[in-house]
Symmetry: C2
Subunit: 329 residues, 2 copies
């Protein structure tokens, strides 16, 4: 029996923001709405003494030979000792035998990527076909990945960014100008970003909503991916009330953790509201944007099927290229 | 940042059934009753297509620098393709930073060992001081480990075994005779084992209880470790009713999964019954057996603190001996 260990530098050579990865993750969302996924609740371990938490996510998808168990952590004290706040890895199991097949030491790269890919899928089905200005709130890792995801499915001439840490925003603008070859404008208010952009990704971990319903305009799309826990919220609840089409990655999860959770509590939405799951778009059982006047919003909280599909693709690529270190066990 | 990979052959050199390992696991049980453990519910992934399941257990214990995430599986089809039914591994995380520290590719050895160690702790506090005949029902891995655990804390002159697969029972008798240097008798009924033995370990995965209250006698101890899921049961419910002292590894878990679960349903026990947790014995806040006439029963279902403590001990030993393969990540 062999186990393969894959390190981050090799993993980055295997998978990227491209059509193949988008197709792989799309299949996961499709299987989810088809009821062909075993998706246990997330395990969360609190390490209060060190202000840390570790989350464990997993999903088995019928028809795939492997499934992933993802272990991701966040420890508040890390930056003060020169370490990144978060960390992550994936364990790949055989769905035929239950044996360990591979350990992907990706340091969170695969999570960043699969989160950006969900954004790409949302943008593909929901963003207007013509985008002059794309907007992003926040200047961290997902401010990059959500825009990379958009770029895969739509052209745009300009990127407008708002963030609260000036140095980070400057670095974001300079890096993304180089990467995308488009003009990147730094805005001094989220309102301007919303009013000027046909597409906006909100990517901040704020607990205080800032995005107002008055800023919305016909034809725009918003992907809100910052809120992935009960206490996080970027959009005021009435923003959801102005959408012609609301999409999310998992209704049950978004009603518990995402923007939908707050809209539900505020009475803007009910459990019976007409909300589409991404998997219905990838499966083709529902359509996304229907015209250039609709306002669409997609709420992303992150689902285990994204982890399993991206891990399986990574492993397939690594094996076919002979990457990784194998152990006889 | 370094990650250490430890394979089974190295792990077996680090930890064994001995006092040091018993002390390590005892500390876990003590911390559990002291409320110093973060113990999330078990994750279970069902892979129905292949009649398989994967369980994920974890526990963070205050004061330890690391904690384990255990991934264990059982796939019914494995033996037909020449593979063992079950498999297991542990991932060791830093409780300081949340970073991955080590992967223990133990193939289930550490689970077997820590389960036997819980048996040793139970026997230490509950078995009568004088044992002429020790008994065991079943002839698999835990029929070995429970007796190894007993042997660590009590002498006995004879071992009596009952099992349903003749070849396996023969092999068990021959192996254990050699290992323990005591006479091993094969019995043709569980009743005889119960009636003749001052200590009995029940280690079968049966869904049909077989052990009857009428077989119990003054001064005996029973460790029941086969039932670790809702549908498994070895002891008829009224067996529990005859015990002077009932102990278990975790009340909440045994009321859901173990023998206590069935006794509760049958009305033999209630949630308010006087039941001791092993951690109360290791902490010294309660005493175990008080005289040579009591009937004592211990129900074991397996708790995450056992996994974390044995994994941490293994890692400490491996590091101090320079064992394992390190990866810079």
């Amino acid at each position: 029996m062999k186990v393969t260990i894959l390190r981050e530098n090799k993993i980055r050579k295997c998978v990227n923001m491209n059509k193949e990865a988008v197709d792989a993750v799309s299949l996961g969302f499709t299987r989810l709405v088809e009821g062909k996924v075993s998706l246990p609740p997330i395990i969360r371990v609190d390490v209060e003494a060190n202000q840390g938490e570790v989350d464990i996510k997993t999903a088995y998808i019928e028809g795939l030979d492997h499934f992933a168990i993802k272990i991701a952590s966040g420890f508040f004290g890390n930056p003060s000792i020169g370490l990144p706040y978060g960390s992550g890895m994936m364990v790949l199991m055989s769905a035929k035998t239950g044996f360990l097949e591979a350990v992907l030491l990706d340091n969170g790269y695969l999570t960043d990527l699969r989160t950006g890919i969900a954004g790409a899928i949302a943008a593909k089905h929901l963003a207007p076909t013509q985008i002059t200005t794309a907007g992003v709130i926040g200047s961290g890792v997902q401010a990059r990945y959500q825009i990379r995801g958009l770029r895969l499915v739509r052209d745009f001439q300009r990127l407008m960014v708002y963030g609260i840490i000036p140095d980070e925003v400057e670095r974001y603008a300079s890096e993304m100008t180089q990467e995308l070859g488009v003009e990147v404008t730094i805005s001094d208010s989220p309102e301007e970003v919303f009013r000027q952009s046909q597409f906006v990704a909100t990517t901040t971990p704020t607990r205080e909503p800032y995005a107002k319903a008055a800023w919305l305009h016909a034809g725009m799309h918003i992907t809100a991916m910052g809120a992935d826990a009960e206490h996080k919220q970027e959009l005021f609840a009435d923003v959801l009330g102005k959408a012609d089409l609301i999409v999310c990655d998992s209704k049950s999860q978004c009603f518990r953790l995402g923007e939908l959770h707050h809209a539900l509590k505020a009475g803007v939405l009910s459990e019976d509201s007409d909300i589409t799951e991404i998997g219905e778009l990838t499966a083709g059982s529902k359509t996304g944007r229907q015209n250039d006047q609709e306002i669409t919003i997609c709420d992303l909280t992150g689902v285990g099927v994204q982890d399993t599909t991206i891990a399986v693709l990574t492993y397939q690529k690594a094996i076919s290229r002979g990457l990784g270190t194998s152990f006889e066990v």
